[in-house]
Symmetry: C2
Subunit: 441 residues, 2 copies
């Protein structure tokens, strides 16, 4: 078992590196950009997530003996390339959107500056992390908006691969969820963990009453009892009989939720359990949550739909060479030109233009090379969107770990407030604000 992330890489990155070391272009200063041409699924905004994870994975992007042996034994690259990789560490600079920031079509989410050799090998790792985490965060933010002030917990680990589940819990938390069922996410990122009980708990016991009684004895009356194993009405009645009217909550995991929630609320109130909360957890997504806004539901648990990006399990971000120096050291903006998938060459600087505090445009200034770009003069109150994440190989540690996760969440909740009202609707539409392209001054 190794912790190197160096082989989370597509083979062609290393074979291009080998060819570039051979022809001398490996040393050319380059600017790669990670961006998305569109927002998936007619979403009105995207949420950047994964940046903090990526920085930690970048630290482990080293080719050790095991990695080099695999590459040598399988003739992936030649001896000169193996020698280069043995000493590889990223020594370039990465600027990017803060984690939790919103993005729109063309937003330069990451700008990776370095030699071709430095930067080309990071394509797969950077895209893997940001495409997955941003897809989850984008869906999660919509759910969090739909839930309003009601608590919202992520409990989809079982519907995502085991490591992705941890990353998804983190992305959902950044985008406004309040807790996760995933213990590893709690340990790794300091995310609050929660849970109730499964149907197996009730079925393990001789009857529902023994199950409820045992749970109350072990976990206290503040716990949440799952009441839909046999018959919901009987389950609720039994729950209050066993726990008393101070029971913390009941969970409903099946049935037609708006109807069932109203019935259960009425029944709880009749029984005097007016403070007992109702948590619902059955196949929720942002639409189902919105549809429950007028129902007497106190908390939501969301599984499958949040960890799979609610229909869009990956963002459509790409990693493209946008500028490089020629042999004489002059910067040349570059871009694929043919057919579809055309993109815009040149390094980008990005600003959120605001009018009276409300976002009005994603303003992107294009320059050829490494020049510093000021806030565009037409948009003097624009907010610069890029920060330095890695400078000459030094990773800014403040974006990592529990601290980075908490600050990404705070940043997201803050910048979401800048969105115009139409951004909050769930239906498919155009991006909430236009992308304005301007020339760098």
């Amino acid at each position: 078992m190794t912790t190197s992330t160096a082989l989370y890489t597509d083979r062609y990155e290393l074979t291009m590196l080998a060819a570039a070391l051979r022809d001398g272009t490996a040393a050319r200063p380059c600017v790669f950009e990670l961006f998305s041409r569109r927002l998936s699924g007619g979403r009105r905004f995207g949420v950047v997530a994964g940046t903090g994870r990526l920085l930690s994975l970048l630290r482990e992007f080293r080719f050790g003996e095991d990695e080099l042996r695999f590459l040598r034994d399988n003739d992936v690259v030649d001896a000169a390339t193996l020698a280069y990789l043995e000493d590889y560490r990223f020594t370039g600079t990465i600027r990017g959107y803060r984690e939790g920031e919103l993005y729109f079509p063309g937003s330069p989410i990451l700008t990776v500056e370095g030699s071709f050799a430095d930067a080309v090998v990071l394509e797969t790792l950077a895209l893997s992390v940001l495409n997955h985490d941003s897809a989850v965060a984008t869906a999660a933010s919509r759910m969090s908006i739909a839930a309003g002030d009601r608590p919202l917990a992520e409990m989809g680990s079982r519907r995502a691969a085991e490591h992705s589940a941890v990353a998804a819990a983190r992305a959902a938390y950044i985008a406004g969820f309040g807790a996760t069922s995933n213990l590893e996410a709690g340990r790794r990122w300091g995310i609050p963990t929660m849970g109730t009980a499964a149907h197996s708990w009730t079925l393990l016991h001789d009857d529902e009453e023994s199950a409820f009684r045992s749970q109350i004895e072990a976990l206290g009356t503040a716990t949440t009892l799952l009441v839909d194993t046999y018959d919901i009405r009987a389950g609720v009645e039994l729950a209050i009989r066993v726990a008393g009217t101070s029971l913390g909550g009941v969970r409903i995991d099946s049935g037609d939720l708006p109807i069932v929630a109203a019935e259960v609320r009425a029944q709880l109130d009749e029984l005097g359990a007016t403070g007992t909360r109702i948590t619902v957890t059955s196949d929720l997504d942002e639409y189902a949550i919105a549809a429950l806004a007028a129902s007497p539901v106190d908390a939501y648990g969301v599984g499958t739909s949040v960890v799979t990006g609610s229909g869009y399990p990956t963002a459509s971000m790409v990693y493209k060479l946008v500028a490089r120096q020629d042999a004489a050291g002059a910067w040349v903006p570059v871009a694929k030109a043919s057919a579809d998938k055309a993109s815009k060459g040149g390094r980008k600087a990005a600003f959120r233009s605001l009018e009276h505090g409300t976002a009005s445009a994603e303003t992107i200034a294009v320059s050829a090379g490494f020049d510093e770009v000021d806030v565009p003069s037409e948009h003097p109150d624009a907010r610069p969107l890029q920060v330095v994440l890695v400078e000459a190989g030094e990773i800014d540690t403040s974006f990592e770990g529990a601290e980075g996760t908490a600050s990404a969440r705070a940043h997201h909740l803050r910048v979401r407030e800048e969105l115009p009202i139409r951004a909050l609707a769930l239906s498919k539409s155009d991006p909430a604000i236009p992308t304005l392209w301007v020339d760098a001054v």
Copy 2:
């Protein structure tokens, strides 16, 4: 950094364990079953994948100092439970479908036998692995059927979280793909790796000709040149001029593929490059592959759609208690009864019924407890579907690693041949064979 997988677990599993240790039910012998009530997306069959990975992860499912400290510091469970977890290792038995096997609604994909304490804690890990890997394998198998004899490579790592990408490469390989771009999958599971070049390779150079020339010099004329950076027709002409008519292949990553492929084939033939192969890689899924069956395409590279399960990124498998002993030691079949999501109690044994070598039914025999179940007498030529994966805590290592992956792939390709013709169609429909429930004799 730890390699323990013990916290890839939902919090409620440990709190149920705590309550069960307290009331004595933790020791009750139990049978949990992992199954799916339906096939996602109107698919006609599902493909089991992830079993080999799960067994390796199960070996690391131990609560070490770090895990126990987190649970203690966050008051997840009490001291008695911490003491139990400190010594935890799974000592039960797991039977299951062989990896690569087909599954249908109700198929008992895994049967986990042990005490409640032994088995309840594995719910999330088992579901995470099997739901993800099986979703990918199911989509991949359809693509592999659509591709027929043409080589098919998985290159979707950038559209899946970094660890899932490795698992997805493995699942796709098991389901019939021939190679992956992911180097870690090559190292870990012995899967053949492949790759061509990116648009950045061409853009790095002063012109397309220098890029092609350099690639040929470094990698030989058997390489595949990416010809759509500027203009495909000019790119193809240049590729053959630089490499000669023995050029291995050209890759097309954009445009209307049936039209473009035909044009490129005609152009290559005119230039005398009749042996130069055409690889296409632009947004393919099983439907696009099928639509290219009559086009002169030699190989497919599939990205996003295979790693995201082609619209169904997770299988809908669940992990349910289906039988347990009561206080007197008698077996009791159990199942959730209310509303939707009802399931069938009792331990299942599964057989693929065959008629003249063609699968005719998924025959599932139900018994209350641990009884051995014979091939049903009505289906004497039925093939038993379950094998022992873990016996009294001992993991069968033959299912793990490169060896297990290769044998899962061979098994899949073999059992796929048993399917009736209607199973191979891509449109949404019912499962290809019915599930027959019989009582165990």
